[in-house]
Symmetry: C2
Subunit: 328 residues, 2 copies
């Protein structure tokens, strides 16, 4: 038996396409990213991705066929899992696009189990990959019960319980963004529900709320970063907006902790970079709602792997499949 | 190799001690129960349990040693798991009582793995056993992602995800009663948190709320059963109380469904017997908060095994340990 070869890893989001080559153990030998093209043609987007993948393989001096031991991919949801037909909310060009099959055809793998001459090609939700990455090599390393979260344009996540990635009925476990935090007076969520965490804590919801309260009224393209910048400067409404988001995060994390007996919650994504402005109210709300002895043990920490967490998680699907992969 | 023998099964609650003998497959050959003695002496309570266990073994014509293939036990929490030192909230006589070790000493087992001449003795939270029972042989049979709930004096539960019982960091996964459903205006929970499901939907909380609203004011010993009886008769406040509880249950179940991608939620316990009075508002709130395609698939159903669900679940810990047991 020869040593396992490197794994081609991919992270597909509405803003950027990232790819890399990971060595056994998860370290990235090389990586690169390009902005996600604003195209409507599925094949055009595929060709952009394909050329990015060929580029990182070339940089890493890894042959397209024969040297790879697998392909791991995270992609924005929703998707059919484990079939890997993807319809990413923020990538209109792909609707039921057979991404897993296309990767398997192109890069020598056979979808699913390694077959004769084939290598495993595995795909999961990008937030699930982030959670796997943080559990495997990041803030949740060495813990058995971890929630990984991405707080950004949306609020997503993935669950590792009893040291195994949880998929749920259709691969959708981990949707912390739709835990209900304000059922009575909360805003309507994009999903159609009322008072979901995401409806309050996603970046655009935060800035919209702040504008309603008088912050930079009338300015069109304000971002969560503008908001946290102003909050850091002491702007009252901006600070209130961050408190509101932090509190909603704390309540949802408390519910998840009480239900799942979590040890660590790793929070990543743009908004998590606001630091104490978000984490202080988060911890306060969390403490108010985790009073049982076991639940008080939970630690909420920033994600540790930064922008590479999705790629490392994609590697984990292949390199540590006993923990992170139960699909076909 | 001989066929596996019967399993001694036990369900310990604040109201009753139940025990039985289960044949491989989970069917109860015999069972019996006695009221939980109101004693303060730990050994006196143990002797009552011991004599109940000897009685069911005798009835089933199973020798105390040599014929059993294991002992499974559910007990009210909290407890140290998997060590099995129990401190049931409603049984003051036992505080850190080494129930698992005592059962192992007395009934021929060795705590944990079957050792030379020993048989497995396994113990878990009673609500967790209920969930295991409903997944193994009840309303969740054949499904891989199930939440089992007990709505009674408290609100407890257990989680089966990806076809495995989830323990969490300390064996406390499944605490659906402390999912937050009303963080702003909810009552303070016995745990110290605010707006927990249990603080609203447990029987005593329901009757207390109804009395505050004018139902049977001044009567001391009213029960949840009185309340649901009056609700069935059309009493306005009683109906409002059931709606309030049903709605809280629906919100918490929605959060759990969105987070864990559940297929079936099996609801047992006294209050679940109120039928449509509870289930109609529950389903309404659930529908309002599960709008994502995957989450809409969840079914909430009454538990199927009735009063024996805890005993069947205790049998599952031993007879289907590959799904329900990861303790030592």
């Amino acid at each position: 038996m020869t040593a396992p070869g490197p794994v081609l890893v991919i992270d597909i989001g509405g803003t950027k396409l990232a790819a890399g080559v990971a060595e056994p153990g998860g370290r990235l030998i090389t990586w690169a990213q390009v902005p996600t093209p604003r195209v409507t043609d599925a094949e055009q987007l595929w060709r952009t991705l394909e050329s990015l993948l060929c580029q990182v393989l070339k940089t890493a001096k890894v042959a397209e066929r024969g040297e790879l031991s697998g392909v791991g991919c995270g992609c924005g949801g929703p998707m059919e899992w484990p079939a890997g037909r993807v319809s990413p909310l923020n990538i209109p060009a792909w609707r039921m696009f057979p991404l897993r099959d296309r990767l398997a055809e192109r890069f020598g793998g056979v979808a699913g189990q390694a077959a004769e001459g084939g290598i495993p090609v595995r795909l999961h939700n990008d937030a699930v990959c982030m959670a796997a990455g943080e559990h495997w090599r990041g803030a949740g390393r060495g813990r058995r019960n971890v929630l990984g979260m991405v707080v950004s344009t949306g609020v997503g996540g993935g669950l590792i319980l009893d040291n195994h990635l949880i998929n749920g009925a259709s691969g959708n476990a981990g949707h912390i963004g739709h835990v209900v935090v304000d059922p009575d007076d909360g805003p309507v969520c994009a999903c159609g529900g009322i008072g979901c965490l995401e409806a309050i804590a996603r970046g655009p919801a935060l800035t919209a709320w702040a504008q309603e309260q008088g912050w930079r009224t009338g300015q069109p393209d304000v971002t969560g970063q503008d908001l946290s910048g102003d909050a850091a400067q002491g702007h009252g409404v901006a600070r209130a907006a961050m408190r509101r988001a932090g509190r909603a995060l704390g309540i949802a994390i408390a519910s998840a902790t009480n239900l799942c007996d979590l040890e660590v919650v790793a929070v990543g994504g743009g908004l998590s970079q606001a630091g104490a402005l978000i984490f202080d109210p988060l911890q306060e709300a969390l403490a108010a709602h985790t009073k049982l002895d076991f639940a008080r043990q939970v630690r909420v920490v920033p994600a540790a792997l930064g922008q590479h967490t999705g790629l490392v998680g994609a590697a984990a699907l292949v390199m540590a499949g006993h923990m992170y992969w139960t699909g076909d």
